[in-house]
Amino acid sequence: MRQRPRKGVLIAMDTLVMTSQLPLYAVLASALAPIPLILAGRNPNMREAVTFAAGFLKLWFVMKMLPPVLEGKVLEYTLFEPVAGLPVQFRVDGMSMLFALVASSLWILTSAYAIGYMRPLKEHAQTRFYVFFAFSLSATLGVAFAGNLLTLYVFYELLSMSTYPLVTHHQDAEARGGGRRYLTYLLATSVGLVLPAMLFCYLKSGDMTFAAGGFLAGKVTPTEALVLLLMFVFGFAKAGVMPFHGWLPGAMVAPTPVSALLHAVAVVKVGVFCILRVVTGVFGLDFLEQLDLGLVVSFIAGFTVICSSLIALSQDNLKRRLAFSTVGQLSYIILGASLLSDLAVKGSMAHIAMHAFGKITLFFCAGAIYVATKKKYISDMVGIGRRMPITMVCFLIGSMSVMGLPPTGGLISKLHLLLGAPDSGRWWLMLFYVVSTLLNGAYLLPIVFRAFFKTGKHFDAGTEVQEAPMFCLVPLTLTAIGSILLFFFPHLVFELASLMVEGS
């Protein structure tokens, strides 16, 4: 593997590339699951057992890759070589590992949650639901493991396609509109912006493999670099950078497990993951610093952070409010990457994991409330703390994690992001984070406050405790506990994140 020294310091340890089939197995574990899923379609318990089996198998394969990756090795596996010298290839490094761990462990919890959500609501076509869920997880891991831009793009598109039937699950007029918006945004940007940008990079540099210091340095003019960077940032619309965020609130028509795992964790994080990969692996932090391109992206992301938080304030539909909150949090990550400081990039990467646990908890809570009370609007949830105390406590924990309050994991990644701003010499970019944290509090905390301390038209002092089914309640409690655990044990996350930043 080619190595480029960063900041004048040669990388001390040699990177060991080892060929391994584990990444392939991890992807296949869920890609092949649809066959038994369809066969077991008539027996729901059997079918869900298959999903769990696939989930644990996948997590096991991912875990098996952890020790070598922590030693600084890169696991490589070439699938096929469609273009001479340009394989579709998996390369698992720290960054891949972090994302893969988050996605595959949360898949298991979401599967449990889906049982508690889909069955009481008697959703139709549940087999199809689980089949495409499994497919989209495979595509997510494919993106996480992608070793070059081509592979990244292949799985990025597959993810768009495999999540379409999930977004439009209800097959009604609203789902149709949401689905149409979903595909329009995602396809138009990926085909219209990413594809040409990717080809241009390839023609200019003759390379596509992500490298520690990027491969574009010195190969493109500053103007070209700026245009390419913008094409990538906007083109990976899954990251929801404004003005290409519109698909995300639209995608909230999906059943809640989909919103929770895909639109708070997998799909949107794939978007920011792609941008992080491009920033670190294609351009390289030094090259961007040299051209001073970080600031442009900082402003785009900062604008999105503030704007989406303001929009979130005005949303009464709980899932939509959370969706706008996600848009903002995604841009946190991009803003962190655009600071081009090691600290902030590390924080960005960690925030993918921290925010995942916090936000999935919030979505799980929203779904649990819907299952138990059929309430979607925040104005109807006044006093709901009396009816569902555990859910709302978890909601509080999730909110704290999203805001970055102790004792939740969100604090640690946010601190890194915050400190990254002075580290990069632009301390005033901290303002974006500070203002937005206040706004986060403004749109999340009142929900909890009113749930416990006010009485509403639906829930008054005499309301009895009646939580959502256990299959809903347990996963959301676990993710809330996970958020707290990440505060006390963030080491693994940061170890993996620093592996990426140090480029070994």
């Binding site: 096929f80 070589e81 469609p82 273009v83 001479a84 579709v88 081509l150 793009y153 292949v154 598109e157 597959l158 396609m161 039937p165 439009t168 097959q171 009604d172 007029a173 789902a175 149709r176 689905g179 149409r180 595909l183 396809l187 138009a188 085909v191 219209g192 594809l195 040409p196 080809l199 241009f200 390839y202 023609l203």
Partner: protein, 511 residues
């Protein structure tokens, strides 16, 4: 003599002899026509595979087959190299798949004429195969006429406006063929040879490139094949001819006729002439690429305006012709590679789409896109295959449509022709709209009784709706799925195919 060495001629003899057998069978026992056709096309496909393997194994990658042992330039030779070996194989594979598929459609749409239909079917295959294999410019004309005449007759067997659209096609097609023949005449006058390799050699040795007669001959040939491939603005004959033809005919004609004309254009441009001459013959060769961009736009946007599935696909064929002509005229190796790869990819894509459209018509008795409502419930397998083909048309990896776009766009960037790049991307996005418009209908809406505007009331179709899944028969589904899976396989293994194609592209000699 080794039978393997006879593979190229067996490839063409199988359907040719088959045509006689089938026409006899049509007189005696019409039931025999279908199995005989499948048998003879299968034989041809088998020989095609043998031919391809032979090309791969031959030193230098060129095999020449001399008819009756006559030495060229006096005798006619088949010449197979990296450019046309794969295309010839594609032709026979398409013919085989359509033959298998045709069992129910021919019986229901052209009942009583099976003998004629299958005879012409096989003759068309002979013509197209001949075009793709021959190394003789005049012999190519002969095969061109064989294929055109049989396609006229096959199209005219359709109902309604088929005869009139076919008449339009006959006139345009004949003009195109005449242009081609005139061009070959000019070249013959100047070089005294009809063998392509020989013409190329004489042009080179005698420095005839600056001769006006040669230039005009080249332009005549070019216009001739442009008419044949329906390149904008010479495209008006195509949509109606393809739409009103019987569905089996469209399945066979749409993937083959335009694609093979593009092959002829590339063969003439780069094997008979050379890039230096071709891109210097007019003042600006990039104008042709602009014309190709217009073709993409015209094809895509007209397709958007059509509410008949088959008409929409026919316009897409026109857009795809723009892709390939544009790629070939970008004047660089990447673009040409993309164009050649797209001949194969688009042949399969068009096949899959027309097969699916035919299956839908067979079950729903309508080509109107309203008839696709709720089809994911009614015909899940047909729609699944259709969706894969649609994704390939949009250019979603890992289908082959993505990789041909990859090379075409790269070629456009390399040539600095941004209009072509933007045109391709726009056309991909229009394709996305086009196909999701149908997929949405099939997925979200409830199926309803098919109707055709103007055919209501007492003219309404005699249609009995069945409950639940109502899928097309296996003989239709199997070829359809073979084509769709082929799209994915061709994408995944595109590296191998591109390697093979670049043997030809490298021999062309771009600067």
């Amino acid at each position: 003599m080794d039978i393997v060495q006879q593979a190229p001629i067996l490839m063409i003899l199988c359907p040719f002899l088959g045509a006689f057998a089938v026409s006899l069978a049509g007189l005696i026992q019409r039931r025999w026509c279908y199995p005989l056709t499948v048998l003879f096309t299968a034989g041809s496909a088998y020989a095609g595979l043998g031919t391809l393997i032979q090309v791969l194994r031959t030193e230098g990658g060129v095999i020449r087959y001399r008819m009756g042992g006559w030495e060229p330039p006096f005798g006619i030779e088949f010449r197979l190299d990296a450019l046309n070996a794969a295309i010839a194989l594609m032709v026979v594979v398409v013919a085989l798949l359509v033959a298998i598929y045709s069992r129910q459609t021919v019986a229901s749409e052209t009942a009583g004429k099976e003998g004629h239909f299958y005879t012409l079917f096989l003759l068309l295959t002979v013509g197209v195969l001949g075009i793709s294999m021959t190394g003789d410019a005049f012999n190519l004309y002969v095969f061109l006429e064989i294929s055109s005449l049989s396609s006229y007759a096959l199209i005219a067997m359709g109902r309604g406006r088929a005869a009139f659209s076919c008449f339009n096609y006959i006139i345009m097609g004949t003009i195109g063929a005449s242009f081609y023949l005139l061009g070959v005449g000019y070249l013959y006058i100047k070089t005294g040879s009809l063998n392509m390799t020989d013409i190329a050699r004489i042009l080179q040795e005698h420095g005839l490139y600056s001769s006006n007669s040669v230039r005009i001959g080249f332009l005549f040939i070019l216009i001739g094949v442009w008419i044949k491939m329906a390149f904008v603005p010479l495209h008006r004959w195509l949509p109606n001819a393809y739409t009103f033809a019987p569905s089996t005919t469209s399945c066979l004609v749409a993937p083959l006729m335009t694609k093979v004309s593009i092959y002829v254009m590339i063969r003439i441009m780069f094997s008979v002439f050379n890039p230096e001459f071709v891109f210097g013959v007019g003042p600006r060769s990039d104008l042709v690429v602009w014309l190709a961009v217009i073709a993409m736009m015209v094809g895509s946007f007209y397709a958007l305006a059509k509410n008949k599935l088959k008409m929409m696909l026919a316009y897409l064929v026109i857009a795809e012709v723009g892709y390939m002509v544009g790629g070939a005229w970008l004047a660089n190796a990447t673009g040409l590679t993309g164009a050649i790869f797209h001949i194969l990819a688009d042949g399969l894509m068009t096949l899959a789409l027309f097969l699916a459209a035919g299956a839908i018509y067979y079950k729903r008795k309508s080509y109107n896109i309203v008839a696709t409502k709720g089809l994911f419930g009614k015909m899940p397998f047909t729609m699944g295959a259709f969706a894969i083909a649609a994704l390939s048309m949009i250019g979603i990896p890992p289908t082959c449509g993505f990789f041909s776009k990859w090379y075409l766009i790269s070629g456009g960037i390399e040539a600095g022709h941004w209009g072509f790049v933007v045109g391709l991307l726009t056309s991909s996005m229009v394709n996305a709209v086009l196909f999701f418009r149908i997929l949405e209908r099939a997925y979200f809406e409830k199926p309803e009784l098919p109707y055709e505007p103007g055919r209501q009331g007492k003219n309404a179709l005699n249609f009995v709706e069945r409950k639940g899944v109502d899928e097309a028969p296996l003989t239709m589904l199997a070829p359809l799925w073979a084509a769709s899976l082929g799209l994915v396989l061709l994408g995944v293994y595109s590296g191998v195919v591109i390697d093979f194609i670049s043997r030809y592209v490298n021999s062309v000699g771009f600067q």
